[in-house]
Amino acid sequence: MSDVLLQVRELKKYFPVQKKWFQPASVVKAVDGVSFSIRRGETLGLVGESGCGKSTTGRVILHLLPPTGGEVLYKGKHLTNLSAAELRGLRKELQIVFQDPYASLDPRMKIRDILQEPLEIHGIGSRQERLKKVEEILEIVGLGGHYANRYPHEFSGGQRQRIGIARSLILRPSLIVADEPVSALDVSIQSQILNLLQDLQEQFGLTYLFISHDLSVVKHISDRVGVMYLGRLVELAPKESLYASPAHPYTQALLSAAPVANPDAKRQRIILTGDVPNPAHPPAGCAFHTRCPHAMETCKVVRPTLKAVDGHEHFVACHLHGE
């Protein structure tokens, strides 16, 4: 398809675990064979619980962490084979917004310098032009140019996240990886930021990879949604289809566990037993079989692959479906 902006194929990221005496070296498979593509102008949501590898996926895509295996294609170009200089050139188009607006801004830099830095690195414009761009971008994210001379501590969490967004936007990227951008914010501020992200997408034709643990937020902002569990993508579907008829038992449990702000909501709650297994020793076969209410013999042995279920574009990795 020509409108595919980013393609991820069998992406893998393994982290070595500190070797102990008399124990063989092992690895944590944070991302273990994840494939998906994102179309131009689309928002792909990636949900999952802590440790499922969703943030690592985002970072490996941008090559902030080198992948262990697999490929990332941006506009048909292999990012994996690029030299450092070529990659730096492409970084203009690939940006990230981090979760913690308190930790991701240098407290000793003025907002002006924080926002100017990406322009300087990429050698864009004269000093005058850069300052003008900084003021412009501050207006765009709803802060006002007069804030340029302040320091990060003078801002609230929501305002800092606006600055983080401005920093990622100032190079006019095509793809933004938003890694839990509203998780640290209060409800009333969260909705301001979500609206801003949507407005910016419309205005600049942005493509988002939106990573979050919050199912409602992901549903609100995404076109398609991928669900991750223990480093693997277990389900991928357009959001209407995913939320209306989740096919994977994990997605079903996740959706039923999310509290709903309606005291009269009656739901069949599936309460999973136990914890997420240690990613250094993931279960054989389907990684979810230890907690799955429908686990069968094959699930313990054979690892399921993503297969299409009813209708187009709805994929699930589960032995209950397909053949």
């Binding site: 619980e49 802590s50 009333s188 301001q192 609100h220 996740l254 566990a257």
Partner: protein
């Protein structure tokens, strides 16, 4: 129902760089026997400071109760000596916090920490205390309880640690349990397990619970009654169903309208403009007025918390006049 806890015109003063501030100013509420009261609000609204005042755990030398009273089963907590307070704390009133790792001591095993509390408050022998500890760990659904009792907090997962915290809190069968964002740090599937556990314990032991959270979904599932706090004040109080069906205060309505839900689909979310006021620069009059779409001349005066219906109180001049606002208009984002 008997009130078990009464908070009357509570005011808390903190010393800060900006002089004296009042993170809680004039808070009134009661908790009845066997009920779960939710306290909702965003960061800085004073919900955690309120709970620390009840426990007598305000940071020494920085914060103090500077006005009002707190009554627990006919005894005035605010007039007690630290020693008297210590007898009540952990025994009759227990608390669980958001981050179980910071509330457990990393150098003692889980069992040792449970034993200590049980021996201190119930006066049991070492062996009896350990028995009770293991029993409590089993009650909160910890598998292999005897072995887990010998483990250190860092060896457990987040959900397990929170179960240990709950076991500790419940070990002396408290009359009142204060849970301050107990599931905020947990994943949804683990959160569902913990909420389920708290409901079971409440039914079995008849404990009253104060459930502090910013998550309206959790409130809807756990609470019988809710108070909404904003900038150190109670701005609305109602039974849970009434609050979600007929919210009166523009802030409560705004909060409900600004959460994305799984059920309905809105292309744009409602958002309350501006931010929470700084505690040293509280607006005169209604504290929400600078962010309110309906602010008027009369909002320059501070509105009282008035009953709008039986059991439903609201701090807004408009609500008092019979409620001229409606959620539809707010949700449309006018």
């Amino acid at each position: 129902m008997q009130p078990i806890l009464q908070v009357e015109r509570l005011q808390v003063t903190f010393r800060s760089d900006d002089g004296e501030v009042h993170p809680v100013s004039g808070v009134d509420f009661v908790v009845h026997e066997g009920e779960t009261l939710g306290i909702v609000g965003e960061s800085g609204c004073g919900k955690s400071v309120t709970s620390l005042s009840i426990m007598g755990l305000l940071p020494k030398g920085i914060g103090r109760v500077s006005g009002g009273r707190i009554w627990f089963q006919g005894r005035e907590l605010t007039a007690m000596t630290p020693k008297e307070m210590q007898k009540i704390r952990g025994n009759e009133i227990a608390m669980i916090f958001q981050e179980p790792m910071t509330s457990l001591n990393p150098v003692f095993t889980v069992g040792e920490q449970l034993d200590e509390q049980i021996r201190l408050h119930l006066g049991l022998s070492k062996r009896e205390a350990r028995q009770r500890s293991v029993e409590m760990l089993r009650t909160v659904g910890i598998p292999r309880a005897e072995e887990i009792a010998k483990e250190y907090p860092h060896q457990l997962s987040g959900g397990m640690r929170q179960r240990v915290m709950i076991a500790m809190a419940m070990s002396c069968s408290p009359k009142l349990l204060i849970a301050d964002e107990p599931t905020t740090a947990l994943d949804v599937t683990i959160q569902a397990q913990i909420l389920d556990l708290m409901r079971q314990l409440k039914e079995r032991q008849g404990t009253s619970i104060i459930f502090i959270t910013h998550d309206l979904g959790v409130v809807a599932e756990m609470c019988d009654r809710v108070i909404v706090m904003y900038a150190g004040q109670v701005i609305e109080e109602a039974p849970v169903r009434e609050l979600f069906q007929h919210p009166q205060h523009p802030y409560t309505r705004g909060l409900i309208a600004s959460i994305p839900t799984l059920d309905q689909q809105k292309s744009r979310l409602y958002s309350i403009r501006g931010t929470v006021p700084h505690p040293a620069k509280m607006p005169a009059g209604c504290r929400f007025a600078p962010r309110c779409d309906y602010a008027q001349e009369m909002c320059r005066d501070n509105p009282p918390l008035k009953e709008v219906e039986a059991g439903h109180r609201c701090r807004c001049w408009l609500a008092e006049k019979g409620g001229t606002t409606d959620v539809g208009r707010i949700a449309a984002g006018s």
